[in-house]
């Protein structure tokens, strides 16, 4: 397994606040979200393990209680953006990727 490194994705200004985009990072599909209210960027796997399609970047960002979540556009399960856990079906979860914005550039560690 190759060592994990920070990969430049795009400029922060390329993200649409409160919606997601999908990036290809070392062959993997990563969904990246930016919350305007929190001023925070999140990155999880783009693959919806229940709907079995690469669609999570196209879900709606939101909160349920304290959890920051994205709702899968297919069957509406919620995935915690910080832990990757599926709220409705904890037996499913998605990978969470470290993500940061440096000098206006979005970087994902993979």
């Amino acid at each position: 397994m190759s060592e994990k490194t920070w990969v430049n994705i795009c400029n922060e200004s390329d993200l649409f606040a409160d919606t997601g985009v999908c990036a290809k990072v070392k062959g993997q599909q990563v969904a990246i979200f930016k919350s305007r209210r929190l001023g925070e960027v999140f990155a999880i796997s783009n693959y919806d393990p229940i709907g079995e399609a690469n669609v999570l970047s196209r879900g709606i960002l939101g909160s349920i209680g304290e959890a920051i979540v994205v709702a899968s556009p297919l069957y509406k399960e919620h995935y915690n953006l910080r832990t990757g856990e599926c709220l409705e079906k904890p037996e499913y979860s998605v990978t969470v990727y470290p993500v940061k914005v440096e000098n206006g550039v979005v970087q994902v560690q993979a």
């Binding site: 994705i9 795009c10 390329d14 649409f16 606040a17 409160d18 919606t19 985009v21 999908c22 990036a23 290809k24 599909q29 990246i32 919350s35 305007r36 209210r37 929190l38 693959y47 709907g51 399609a53 690469n54 669609v55 196209r58 879900g59 709606i60 960002l61 939101g62 909160s63 349920i64 209680g65 920051i68 979540v69 709702a71 556009p73 297919l74 509406k76 919620h78």
Partner: protein
Amino acid sequence: MKKRIVVVGNGMVGHKFIDNLVNHADAANYQVITFSEEPRLAYDRVQLSKYFSGSTAEDLMLTSEDYYNEKSVEFILKDKVVDLDLENKEVITASGRREGYDKLILATGSFPFVPPIPGNNGEHCLVYRTIEDLEAITASSAVSKVGVVVGGGLLGLEAAAALKAAGLETHVVEFAPRLMAVQLDEGGGKLLRRKIEAIGVKVHTQKATTEIVAGTEARYRMNFADGSHLETDMILFSAGIRPQDELARKCGIQVGDRGGIVVDNNCVTSVPDVYSIGESALWNNRIYGLVAPGYHMAKVAVSHITGGNEQFTGADMSTKLKLLGVDVASVGDAHGNTPGSLSYTYSNDVEEVYKRIIVSADNTKLLGAVLVGDVEAYGTLQQMCVNGMDLPEDPNGLILPSVDGASHGMGVDALPETAQICSCMDVSKGAICCAVQNGANTMGEIKAITKASTSCGGCTALVKQIMDAELVKLGVEVSNHICEHFPHSRKELADIVRIKKIKTFDELLDGHGKGLGCDICKPAVGSILASFWNEYVLDKKHIGLQDTNDIFLGNMQKDGTYSIVPRVAGGEITPEKLIVLGQVAKDYKLYTKITGGQRIDLFGAQLHQLPAIWKVLVEAGFETGQAYGKSLRTVKSCVGSTWCRYGVLDSVGMAIRLEERYKGIRAPHKIKFGVSGCTRECAEAQGKDFGVIATESGWNLYVCGNGGMRPRHADLFATGLDDETLIKYIDRVMMFYIRTGDRLQRTSVWLENMEGGLPYLKKVIIDDKLGLAAELEQQLQENIDQFQCEWKTTVENPELQKRFKHFINSDDRDDNLAYVLEREQIRPAFKDERANKIDLVELVD
């Protein structure tokens, strides 16, 4: 030392026993091992017919190997227990395996009875019991045209439904004079027969088959005792069940004269430490062929083994089900066998409803009931019967249709705490109330905690009523809040947005909500904002609010690709435009289908292809059909007076005019129209939110109908309207709905929930009782004036198209997509096809 429990048979009841035991407080004291003759663990036999409507064996499973492993339950599949050594307490299997036990549970179930008719063993003579049976039926159906079910009972009719669904000419042959002779009385059986015949299943009663021989037109010929005969390609025997008691019989455990392993109130057989539960057990000379009593026996056996004191003292045999789409229910003593019993009957041949209740000689208690065609009263009647509750003063009210809309049913308050609400999972009213008291306030939570209504689902309505009543009792207002982020209903939010002229979600959240919002409130607010201000939905400030389909202006399909549906107003399209659609579909290898709403749907477009495809379509004069939005979807029309011999008015012209007027308007739910050119109603306008039907004296307007899951015919709202009045009324009703409807509430439910109902709506719209008419019209007009084709706006702006790339940092496409050809077009590949990478279609990148 752990006690060894051997469970012979892993059907629904055997599994229920195991599940109860391994989740018991003393579970650690027991080691369970179970044997199954079938190749798989327990599955839901009650839902077996779902196998024909697309469910897989997996969907029907009640447990899994993982679960048994986790609970340390040993299981042996495909190895039948063939002998018992009662002296040494061992079971012996067909493969020669021996296992010792401390307690033995015989949950061997039953087998289908095949009448001893000569010729009953042909290749296409089958039974209906296991998944393997269903596979055989499927295979046989594929090479058959005609199918006969022998037996007109519950299972027989289920089996008939399966044959009908498989496209066979279907017959039911019953020995008794009527269908479902055990559960129904003569009147009920007669109506059931009529309804089933209306579906196209042929019913033959009082027929005794004497022999099955080779046929001349079909595979077999069944000869009947009365000299008649029937030709068929396959025969399904469903003439009842017999307890599987051969093991007990062989080993000298007491069995009944007509079969069944004799058990006492603890479910113990004539041999100590040997139990029998479910359909193999004979209690008080009775076999219970339903799952709920079997589940109860499982509970009793666990209780006895673990030192509890639960007893089996009989079970309620009431049933409610839908057979071939016909509602049927039977409660208690449905035949009125109780000496001196009296009955009340309501029979309505026009609406095809039959109801009969049987009451005690002194007219104070309900003994039984038969319901066909309308089983709404089932929950009430079953509870009254089982709990021995007093009849209301006028028992007629229990079966007569209500004339004033008032319900004659008794409130759930009248039920005792001990009333068993869910018989499958044995849940009492008390248990549901207790769950509510401990904080459960949604059906999901009630189901998770109590397991009520998680099996057959027949009790769902009753459980919900009990939950709501208990919530009210606890002083909990049954909340109408849209979600946790806003303490308001959709209507209240719409009022706030309109009155305070709020233009963005953030503004609304800052002033009236908390948190970040979610996938419930965001699209709802997005829809409200669009309904009143109608700005471009993909504007930066609105984009995060858009649901799956709105966000990319297409309908997301199961693999993440989209369908493309341009507007074809009134279904009228020029040959040039048809060619463009065909060309686009060909260029991008899209699957093409004419929809039910007079549109041409192109499937399988990838995200990054959408702008390019729409550029071509927009240039050819197409507009978005907004098939993705909670907005006007279609105005279906017939051909109207222009071409039709019978047309009275120009329905196509009116359909186009209405569609052009209301296109793009966002509402609480999607909206459909229909316009028929005469009362023949070829556009099925009465099944739409707004239905318009031409008459000699003008347009008739119908409102608030729909198809979908719970279809409703629209109500006649006004008659003989001219074009202008028609549109004026529609404007007003639509804006009134937009303002006051709940989130995702269809017009039908909106009207049903409206206090005062249709007469009130007429007063508001036609008589302008609230003085709102002008405002409603003006509001709608403003909305109409703001219309834009969202796709046109999008393809004209390169900045907006950036979002339509699959990857923000690469031009690659989604590598997860795979298609195969079916009937010369693409469809998403199934899992196994993907794995084998066979014959995949090369995609247009």
